[in-house]
């Protein structure tokens, strides 16, 4: 494989135990994502798409296999190293937005920047963090809502906040798990347009969806079937 791959997933296996029964969800998944690519992963509900994305994003462990980031195996490195990777290189967008209700829009967007900074280094970083956050707020068109509680936002606005949070630290890889799954078609289109726009600017994106029309926007589509990825 070429060294241009930002992410590689090799022979991933994952089994869930439900009661006494084993559910073998991922049965040897291989995947390579090259820099700047917009990849869509399709699959029916329950096929293991989210599981795969969580493993690729180091949020979950696999039973077997490895995850390579920049050709380096990161599935076995220390949790501090994994945390740093998530904090600097990866952005997540989830189907259900997952915003912190105690924080306003701008604070939610700044979360990765705040997590990556200690209380002592924060004063030095704050100006830059605010600048980055405000840029994102403008990009996702939430200037008027910047200081609102996130609970007062519409679904589309919430997901745009989540997208801004996922991109504010300029990660090299964006992982999106059915980002439009919970939105009406207009709001969904807004999110997809943003994804497309960022991809044009060079953002690598892996997006999970079960909607062929949405997958069609990507450069390439893979299907998760019977625990394996196929064309």
């Amino acid at each position: 494989m070429s060294s241009n791959n930002i992410l590689q997933v090799r022979n991933i296996h994952k089994t869930y135990k439900i009661g006494r029964q084993d559910q073998h969800v991922l049965r040897g998944v291989d995947l390579a994502v090259s820099n700047g690519e917009f990849l869509a992963i399709m699959g029916s509900s329950g096929s293991g798409k989210s599981t795969l994305l969580h493993i690729a994003g180091l949020l979950d462990n696999c039973d077997k296999g490895s995850v390579l980031f920049d050709n380096k195996d990161v599935s076995k490195i220390s949790s501090a190293g994994q945390n740093r990777l998530r904090n600097k290189q990866i952005g997540f967008v989830f189907q259900f937005y997952h915003l912190l209700p105690e924080l306003n829009v701008r604070e939610n967007i700044m979360l990765p920047l705040m997590v990556g900074s200690s209380i002592f280094s924060w004063p030095g970083k704050k100006t830059k963090a605010l600048k980055l956050a405000n840029e994102m707020i403008e990009a996702v068109d939430l200037v008027a809502q910047a200081t609102q509680k996130v609970t007062t936002l519409s679904g589309g606005q919430r997901q745009r906040t989540a997208l801004a949070r996922a991109l504010v630290h300029k990660p090299r890889l964006l992982l999106a798990d059915e980002p439009t799954g919970n939105l009406d078609s207009e709001a969904g289109k807004g999110i997809l347009d943003l994804l497309k726009q960022y991809n044009h600017m060079g953002q690598t994106i892996v997006m999970v969806t079960h909607d062929p029309a949405i997958a069609a926007m990507a450069d390439r589509t893979l299907h998760l079937r019977d625990g394996k990825l196929v064309k």
């Binding site: 949020l59 945390n83 998530r86 904090n87 915003l99 979360l111 990765p112 900074s117 209380i119």
Partner: protein, 441 residues
């Protein structure tokens, strides 16, 4: 840095956290009030007893008393540790006047000049306010024939009304063998009312009437003329020099006494000398100090248990909050926070709750303690209820001083308790599988 923002926001937004703050505040307040007042009472009572007794007391638990006291006092005065030693006589007696029934009293004979140096007696006199206390009535022909009447001021303020200007004191003579001598009706002598004494110790003030040492020794037939025996006394009070260790000196004096009594081995002397005890002041007044100390210990125990209850409340509240916030933890973790970060959010939250509760509670407690007398007065008049009754605690004022060390101690304990209440939920939070929480909405 997100931790501090999140701790603060949780603290502001989670109303249930305020319950925990309230629990901590209440606990801190109650502990501070009770501990301050109880400690104040204990130390005030000790102080009062100490000053009344002087440092060391050599006594025999019988009205017969013991002989050779002057010889031993002379030995004591040779010790550099001893400031002054003075004998006293304690005799059951009656005080009567033509217009009132006889009052049973403990008649105490003191060498008033020495006694005032050994004890705080002079300060307890409050009627005539004499600079140089003495037993001389205004009518100079009755020199040394005055009596000083003990009054427990808290509930006996008006007792002086029953005291006539001239009263008869009757005491009973007992020989060194312990049999009644002299008149069967006792020896009666007239005395003149010169002053009131109020030590603040109810058992003392209620029953003591003081007269001159020599007068009483003669009247009680303890001067030895009647039974042909050396003169006797009931107590020697010893005041030590400043900064002398009382307990250590008490041991030395006790050894001295044991050696001293070997000089008088004849049976009739030994009988009286054998059960003389040498105690330091707190030992001799133990019966009055120990119950208070026990009460304070029980209070501390009760509040320790309450601290456990508070810790449990905090634990429950934090458990609830953590359960409710699992999804937040998943989000934060997906942004790159470590498990330790997540745990520290909750521990920090616990610290903040503890700190807020302590500040509130200790301020409230401080206000209550410093105004406790005014509050007790209101409660007394409105509800007819006294939390710290004067006669039980031998006080006319409830101690109203907050000890800074004690306050700091309580605050630190409260903060530790709060933080540890958050500890288990925090550890649970850091161990949670966060993906799980991110799946569902």
């Amino acid at each position: 840095m997100f931790k501090y923002l999140l701790i603060w926001r949780y603290f502001i937004r989670k109303k249930v956290a305020w319950t925990a703050v309230g629990a901590v505040a209440l606990l801190v307040m109650l502990t501070l009030v009770v501990l301050s007042v109880m400690s104040g009472l204990v130390s005030e009572t000790k102080e009062k007893n100490h000053r009344w007794v002087s440092d060391i007391i050599i006594s025999r638990d019988s009205q017969v008393g013991f002989p050779f006291y002057q010889e031993f006092i002379d030995q004591l005065h040779e010790m550099p540790e001893v400031q002054i030693a003075t004998p006293t006589i304690k005799s059951f007696g009656l005080l009567e006047s033509s217009f009132a029934e006889p009052m049973p009293k403990t008649i105490v004979g003191i060498k008033i000049d020495e006694y005032c140096k050994a004890t705080n007696f002079a300060e307890t006199l409050y009627y005539k306010d004499q600079k140089q206390p003495n037993f001389d009535p205004e009518d100079k022909q009755y020199k040394d024939r005055g009596f000083i009447f003990g009054i427990y001021r808290s509930y006996q303020k008006d007792a002086w009304q029953y005291v006539a200007n001239e009263m008869d004191i009757t005491v009973f003579g007992i020989s060194y063998r312990g049999v009644l001598i002299g008149s069967e009706a006792g020896q009666k002598q007239r005395y003149w009312y010169v002053d009131n004494a109020a030590s603040g110790l109810p058992d003392i003030d209620e029953s003591y009437v003081y007269i001159d040492f020599d007068m009483l020794q003669k009247l009680a037939l303890m001067d030895g003329t009647m039974d042909n025996f050396p003169a006797r006394v009931n107590e020697i009070r010893v005041k030590l020099a400043d900064n002398v260790n009382i307990v250590a000196t008490q041991k030395i004096i006790n050894e001295k006494w044991q050696a001293f009594k070997q000089n008088y081995t004849a049976k009739k002397y030994a009988l009286l000398l054998d059960d003389v005890t040498v105690s330091h002041w707190s030992k001799s007044r133990q019966a009055f100090i120990a119950p208070l100390e026990k009460e304070r210990t029980i209070m501390v125990l009760v509040f320790t248990m309450m601290a456990f209850v508070a810790a449990f409340i905090i634990f429950t509240i934090f458990y609830m909050i953590v359960s409710e916030k699992v999804k937040d933890l998943g989000i934060i973790k997906s942004s790159g926070a470590s498990s330790a970060d997540l745990a520290s959010v909750f521990i920090g939250f616990g610290l903040l709750v503890g700190l807020a509760g302590s500040v509130l509670g200790s301020s409230a407690g401080y206000l209550i303690v410093t105004n406790v007398n005014a509050i007790q007065e209101i409660v007394k008049t409105k509800f007819k209820f006294e939390l710290w009754p004067e006669d039980v605690y031998a006080i006319s004022r409830i101690p109203d001083v907050v000890d800074a060390n004690q306050m700091a101690f309580i605050v630190i304990i409260a903060i530790i308790v709060s933080a540890s209440g958050a500890l288990v939920p925090a550890i649970r939070a850091s161990r949670l599988s966060v993906v799980q929480s991110l799946r569902v909405d």
